[in-house]
């Protein structure tokens, strides 16, 4: 409605500008309030100097209500009403205290995320420790638009997962996250910013419809007929970073541990995936094409060699090699040096 008024856009612009300026000052003077720049080493413990409290809209409503009750009771010298008003008022205050304490001492011990291809959501896994003093309920974690809520029992660790949108290959800083709670009555918003010094790798997005693998002549004969997921060679325990599709759910349910299918290292032909051979494509498209080929080669059980400027990987195959190749592709220098690490 506001935007339709003439001049509103200019006003809006002014307001945004002003708020940015205020934030800049705040960042300089009160780093904990904004925590835009200062990166922190894990583990991060929330202490009183970085926890902020403001009443939530219902909290303002209740505050107003209690104020009216108190003034009325004082005016009428109505003692039971006054007592009621003071009890409610101080209960609101105690709820603030209790909410504050459910943040204080919370430790963020670990942030992990398995690499994904650009464009896929990256699942970040935050590990929070409650500490030995209290259990914590109704905590929420927010990053950008995404948020998740969790509770931690005393002395336990909670793992909270949040999906991060990705758009670009390369290092993606986790950025600042907000831990907040409305516990216990929902009348106060209590929050703290954390800006962990962590980044996760985003692999390049593989080309959607790429031409077939460039097979070298000596690798033409034997093809490994085994596709993935047909006959696993063996099972091993889940390790962080294993793709979910490899989890053997039935076996996992039976044993109580997450089990992952491991495939026999297949014997296949060698392929050369050479940066120079896709020279006709634009820079990023080359990377996407190579990523596709690397994935295809791995899926088909071939041994493959990746040649990119300054690096030669392989020939080899297997999960480690695949990730090494994708990593090398992800970390190829950006064509314009400005884009890296700019994601907020």
């Amino acid at each position: 409605m506001l935007a339709r008024l003439p001049g509103a856009a200019a006003l809006h612009h002014l307001a945004v500008d002003a708020s940015r300026r205020i934030m800049r000052v705040a960042e300089r003077r009160l780093p904990a309030l904004t925590r835009w720049r200062a990166l922190e080493q894990l583990p991060v413990v929330l202490d009183r100097r970085r926890i902020y409290v403001l009443p939530s809209p219902p909290g303002l409503f209740f505050g107003l209500l209690v104020a009216v009750m108190l003034i009325g009771a004082l005016n009428y010298n109505n003692n039971p009403a006054l007592m009621l008003g003071f009890v409610v008022a101080s209960a609101l205050h105690t709820s603030l205290l209790s909410g504050y304490l459910s943040l204080r001492g919370l430790r963020l011990v670990q942030v992990q995320g398995s690499p994904v291809h650009a464009g896929e959501p990256l699942r970040l896994r935050f590990s929070f420790e409650a500490g030995e003093r209290r259990s914590r309920r109704g905590l929420c974690l927010q990053r950008g638009q995404a948020h998740a809520c969790f509770s931690i029992a005393i002395g336990a660790v909670a793992e909270v997962e949040i999906d991060l949108p990705t758009s670009q290959r390369g290092w993606l800083p986790i950025g600042r996250i907000r831990v907040f709670t409305r516990h216990p009555l929902g009348l106060f918003r209590i929050w703290s910013w954390i800006h962990p010094d962590r980044r996760v790798l985003v692999y390049p997005a593989p080309e959607a419809s790429a031409p077939a693998l460039p097979r070298s002549s000596e690798a033409g004969g034997q093809r490994n007929r085994r596709g993935p997921g047909e006959e696993p060679h063996s099972l091993r325990e889940y390790r962080v970073g294993d793709p979910l599709r490899l989890v053997a759910w039935k076996r996992s349910a039976r044993t109580g541990h997450l089990m992952v299918r491991e495939f026999e290292t297949p014997v296949g032909g060698d392929v050369q995936l050479d940066w120079a051979r896709v020279a006709e494509l634009p820079y990023e498209a080359r990377i996407r094409r190579l990523s596709r080929w690397v994935l295809d080669a791995e899926r088909e059980g071939l041994r493959y060699t990746l040649l990119v400027p300054g690096t030669r990987l392989g020939p080899a195959s297997g999960s480690d090699h695949l990730h090494a190749c994708l990593r090398a592709l992800a970390l190829l220098p950006q064509p314009h040096q400005h884009a890296a690490g700019n994601d907020r």
């Binding site: 009750m69 010298n77 003692n79 007592m83 009621l84 409610v88 660790v157 216990p184 929902g186």
Partner: protein, 685 residues
Amino acid sequence: MSAATADAAATDLAGWRGQATPVRLDRRSLLWTAAAVAAALLPLALVLPAWLVAVLAVLWAAAVALLRRGILLPMVVRLPLTLLVAGAALAAYDFRFGRDTGAALLATMLVLKLLELRRARDARSVLGFALFASMAAFLLDQGPAMLLAAALGVVVVLTALAEVADHESGALRRPRLRTRLLSTLKLLALSLPLALAGFFLFPRLASPLWGVPGKATESRTGLSDDMAPGDIASLYLDDSPALRVRFEGAAPPRSAMYWRGPVLSQFDGRSWTRTPYRELIAPEPVDVHAAPLRYRSMQEPTDRRYVLALDVPLAAPRGVSLQRTRSLSSRRPLDQVETFELQSAVHYTLGRELSYPAVDRQHYTALPEQFNPRTRALLDEWRRSTSDPQELIRRALQWFNREFTYTLEPQLLGRDSVDEFLFGTKEGYCEHFASAFTVMMRMGGIPARVVTGYQGGYPNTMGGHWVVRHSDAHAWSEVWLQDRGWVRIDPTSAVAPARIEDGLEGLTGGNAEDVWWAPLRNASDWAVRSWNELMLGFDAARQRQLLRPLGVEDADWKTLGGAFAIAAGVALLLTLALVLRERSAPLDPLLRAYRSFLRRLARAGVAKAPQEAPLAFAERAAALLPADAERVRALSGRYAQWRYARAQMAPALQRELAVALRAFRASPRRGPARARPMPGKPGER
């Protein structure tokens, strides 16, 4: 460390903003909100008309049934229903607005709002107004029952708030009812110190900023400003207390306990009324013959202005004026229990000289013409035989004593009420006697007036106070005699002396003090009195005296504000200390034992870094303390086994391990090789 999976609900959660994605309530929070509304309306149910309470109860039950099934009534049903019920509530008070009308409307709206309860926001506004309803109930009544009901309301409202907040943050596993209620009670208990500091020390207003809204209906019993024979009858049946009195010294005899209320001096042939303009003149002077009685009176609310005092009051307390006729009148209607510090003279001479002899004599002998001719004739006849006022009084009282009977159910009287009473029915109660006697005196040329009030009282041995009940309501006469001033004549005592000696029960045969439940009654009355004293009687004046033990004689609002700030600070510290001390679950004994094991190792020079796993640490310790290597490895191994596979270890083994861990002592060092401090960043926790 055992990992707890996050309670992350995939469905709607309130984000940081909360408003962007309004959260729909689940059934559990809906029902809690409904329960909170019921609990918060409980106090109001005690004072609202019964039929309205019944209608609201039915509506509430219907709303709960709909909420359980998740049905939302369409607007076409809700709107007319709301208008209908609200209209009915208004009609119950004849569309007059007052405190009670407002409370009824609030209750109605709260129940109807349940019908459209959907989102967390709705629930919160309902809960807020529910708290307000508890408060509104206190404007209507302030008894202890009310407070209990309101306390229950607060507990349920806060619990419902927590329930809604929990749902909003997507906690899948909600605590059980017991845990929930306990945490609310804990919250309230922790809030109590601050609340008490506020209650006692927050500076009070000596005079209100704005007036208390009146009530649309008069429902309280009490004396009225006029008296027509037959009026007080309803009071006689009301056994509830009107007044509680604690005397500073010995109490006067019961027969002398005349509690002075409004004085009526204008007679229109049927009823007696006050003459307000005359009451503004300075009070009639009193000569006191004995030491005045000091007492503290706690008067139940009447919604009227009169303040009862023992005949006759000597001074007016704050906020009360002493009228010309020595009745006390409050500046505002008494709508709650009020405490007054009073002093009265029991032996006195009131108004030895009439201040304005001509006017006063005329005023106090005025009677309407053409009423009660037979009485007038009788008095004219008496006056011919004697001119002594005392003789006239004696004759009248003798006549009453001889021929009249006391009854609470007299026949109705017509136009010449005094004639009909004196020469016809010859039966009645105090009003009849006082009215007839005063009229007779006026006809005999003696200034006379009617005093209404209460007579008597019941000692409550438990509380050491006296209770005056509404059934003790009484009316008597005062006549003005030369040199003696206004003299109290109670014609009822001439007819039924037992009424004065033993109270109403003395006449009807029952005795209030002898019934088997008298102790119970005394105890409950004592409880109510203490409640009144502690809770209701605390006002600006008492607050000023509160700091007296601390050497502050008469605390003004600044001192009080300071005291409040200090007390609030102390209360907050107390709360904080309690909160910080809390530990939801005690540490496992094995964990404690392992810590003591770590302390021993630290003393031996090997401290465990927080991030170090037990087994890795054991290896490091074993390397540094070769003498204890085996023991350290074994204990750590078993501890790690317990820590990470807790379920598999039998309780007996756990206990054994705890004992072994505690028993561990590092062997004394031989070599000078002090262990190096632990690796890692020393500053890290």
